[in-house]
Amino acid sequence: MKKAINVALVGNPNAGKTSVFNLLTGMNQKVGNFPGVTMDKVSGTYLHQEALTNVLDLPGTYSIYPRSMDERVVFDFLSDENAHDYPDKIIAVADASNLERNLLLFSEIIDLGQPTILVLTMLDIANKQGINIDITALEKEFNTKVIPINGRNGEGLGELKDEILNETSQDYKPFYDTNTLSPEIIPVIRDKFNLKNDYVAYQYAQQTYSKSFLSNEEKQFIADAKVKYNFCDRQFQTTETVERYKIIRNKLRDVVTKTVETEVKTRTSQLDRILTHKIYGYLIFMAVLLVMFQAIFEWANPFMDWIDMGFAELSALANEYLPSGILTDLIAEGIIPGLGGVVIFIPQIALLFCFIAILEESGYMARVVFLTDKIMRKFGLNGKSIVPLISGVACAIPAIMATRNIESWKDRIITIFVTPFMSCSARLPVYAILISLVIPEQKVLGIFNLQGLTLMFLYLLGFFGAIFSALILQKILKVKERSYFIMELPLYRMPKWRNVWITIFSKSKTFVFEAGKIILAISIILWVLASYGPGDQFENAEALVAQTHPELSNDVEALDHAVASYRLENSYAGILGKSIEPMIRPLGYDWKIGIALITSFAAREVFVGTIATIYSVGADEENESTIKDKLRAEVNPITGGPMYTFALGLSLMIFYAFAMQCMSTLAVVYRETKSLKWPILQLIYMSGLAYVCALIAYQVFK
């Protein structure tokens, strides 16, 4: 086998880059991290003519001057010649129906000096629009190999793979010579960093601070040189961009011929007339959301039930067939349920990403962003914040990762901060059991189900929690950064199902491995805390219970339950629960709920399982009705009435709606903001708000 080849894919957003990437690599994709930056690095491999090729998919960008987190990676990566995966070849993907603008990025890329192939996509759309492109003339004018690719059927793919292996080198000729802008500084930087190319040196001066691989002294060296040679970055960038466009327009004159305006654009205009209409626009958006939520919760349900049952079965099998001992207990009660807690969300995550991928592929998502920008702006957010907020209904983790294309730092931080307020799927089991416990099953106004209305109220509570927190944060955060909104509205087109399918697959995989690690670790810790306790009381639980409750000696099952709950009470988890009891008493909670609060800090859905254990319901028969019956029978030791009153239920639901009880989200926030400040603030703010609101609810309705 020959040596592996590295290629990098660059291109404008919506240029069809992802389709080319998916065509090349299929399911052989993985997500890693760029060194030094918090960005996912999507890469994949394929074999062609016995040569292994690594393909790296870089974020979509309009130029190599970055504006968002996403784009910052592009130049950083393309200018570090010493990186181990520095590309041998670059593939620039350009949308043929919009060639002029797409070629700006291409012209910058070829000036970086690496062999570059130009891939043209959407030729079918261009032809329908009456645009004709002379490929041979294009190759000649731009001094590059041009390969047209059909993103739907993969036509041209073989030719691209051959060309990637082709080692005949092109003669390098700068497209635009930046020496006309700043002749002095380029040789200085070239010598200092031993660079092979003028444009790379010029870019070191333009983008000194976004480069993670330079040391502080090196950055200072460039900064000093910039002052010395009077380097005016913005002015130069303006001149450079205008000049590049001039050259591109000149060259394209003989390459592109236009005949007539046609139906593709007319169809988009007609659709826009309806989809961005004053009234229908919002109605359609609401309908889309409704269908999406319905799908996430209804369609995912049977799959989630199967997974739930499957893992319960697995737990039982482990208990049955493995030799009894601590290790088996850990596997059956800690690891398997922990894994189940991760896997159970796959159906919802997959469905959510299926919807989001379809909305994005079809071009509708850009319209949603366009429709909501003005409303979101009032709350310190941005049209682009709508995507994370919607995704947050399934899970905050992928939602927070989706904030990366928000250019403004302030808008992005606010979006990250408030997204966990959106009621994620992990809250659903908690809501479900509490609602069925304290809200009567009756109709309101003849048609609405009161339990359903309560659930909707809780979702709205989360949404308004997010919106108003954004408003507060907007007032507090003093940043002199411009927020702007300049975005392409792509043409409407049928989604490519291959892309949708690959998105579902790869996002679900990322979720399982990223969140899974943390949730698994927490479940093991919890199991240890709940299974061990200090001193004799825990060790001799059986003897002690038999002593205090001699009447149970005939009933083995009742005795076992009593021992289990006695054990829990005296375990480390139980001791923790009791220690926070004074704090949570005003909210109406006792130490048993306290344990559930502590354990579910890691992940909310743990609440139901913990409650089930606390009220001595055997873990292997996680039957909801039995949990419910036990909860219903629970007596409040102070009042003598039932423990789970309307006030307590409401207080708990509000607490779970607001409190930041998700270790994985905190970990992702830390990863995305690169600072402990934000997750800590988020934890304090959300939990504080949850406490106060739950307190008010309980005290008012008690």
């Binding site: 700006l104 913005r234 303006t238 961005t276």
Partner: protein
Amino acid sequence: MEKSAADLTPGQKGMVKDFTDEYISLKLLEMGVLPGTEILMKFAAPLGDPICVEVSGYALSLRVEEAKTIILS
């Protein structure tokens, strides 16, 4: 009073002359909004902001505030 891209009504065209804001203009230039380019106002979002214009053969959305920085001749 100079005319800006924000003054166009749907269906109206204008020619880009200059920009009043350096930071925004860099982004606009990259997106193909160049001096001498024709800009066609297509439609506004339901609340009047942002707006959608056609420029260099594609649909570009931007806020009214940003459209104000594009001076037309």
